[in-house]
């Protein structure tokens, strides 16, 4: 086996660091990341239900953590991850029928996924605080 011809530098295809990802690529990986986050987010649901089923002082303690600024920040992120994954899931179900796969259509749906998740998250929190205030 001769290596003389193979040691020359070969041209490389564009790599992740210099490649501008199309929106469908970004939403694809974000769908997976939000899914992974929601996986561990179920711990918060289990914790919250356990606290409600337990004694009052423990419920108040957990409520205090969820109500703190860091708790609210995590829950805000949780809401966004949930809504992004939910809308992304609808996107996948549409694709499963064979519709919406054309390049520009797919990009538009992906942008709707991003914008929709942010708008709905803010809406949920605004309505949530209005309910609390009223």
């Amino acid at each position: 086996m001769s290596h003389s011809h193979a040691t020359r530098e070969r041209p490389l295809s564009p790599h992740l660091t210099i490649y501008r990802p199309p929106i469908t690529m970004t939403t694809s990986i974000v769908h997976r990341i939000t899914g992974g986050a929601l996986y561990f987010g179920t711990l918060l649901v289990a914790w919250w239900l356990t606290a409600a089923a337990g004694p009052q002082d423990y419920f108040e303690f957990v409520n205090g953590i969820f109500g703190s600024w860091i708790g609210q920040l995590v829950l805000f992120g949780y809401t966004w991850a949930l809504l992004h994954h939910l809308l992304g899931g609808i996107r996948h179900l549409i694709w499963d029928t064979g519709a919406g796969l054309e390049k520009h259509t797919a990009s538009k749906i992906a942008w709707a996924n991003v914008v929709g998740s942010v708008v709905l998250t803010i809406l949920v929190w605004v309505v949530g605080y209005m309910v609390r205030g009223g």
């Binding site: 997976r32 179920t42 649901v45 409600a52 809401t79 939910l86 899931g89 949530g128």
Partner: protein, 127 residues
């Protein structure tokens, strides 16, 4: 020497070919179920925002609320277990690590599910 084994012999013992799409299908079914159930859960949380201990317990003890949360949890847990299995299979290549994580995935899902459903049952039956 020529291989004298038949194609059938080569695949025997490797498992049934009939469940190849079961994860794909189950992921879609649980996705469809999770959409309305999750939206109802978000609506419930919005409505209950700021509720105290007694009020929250009374709401969670309502059979309709308890059943809908239980259904949401079961659907979401099945969905996420399949999703995490796919993530593990995509990124973990060592057999030992992969097997360990796949087992942990199952344990995690079942523990979260049993703890949550037990809490819901305790609230609903008021013990």
């Amino acid at each position: 020497m020529a291989d004298m084994r038949t194609p059938l012999k080569k695949v025997e013992g490797l498992g049934s070919a009939r469940d190849g799409t079961i994860h794909f299908w189950r992921q879609r079914v649980t996705a469809i179920a999770s959409i309305p159930l999750t939206l109802l859960f978000i609506g419930f949380l919005i409505a209950m925002n700021g509720a105290g201990y007694a009020e929250m317990r009374a709401a969670l003890a309502n059979p309709l609320v308890a059943l809908l949360i239980a259904l949401m949890l079961i659907s979401a847990l099945i969905h996420m277990r399949i999703g995490m299995q796919i993530i593990i299979e995509d990124y973990v290549h060592g057999d030992g690590g992969k097997l360990a994580l796949l087992i942990l995935n199952t344990f995690f899902t079942i523990i979260v599910g049993v703890v949550s459903l037990f809490a819901l049952a305790k609230l609903a039956f008021g013990v």
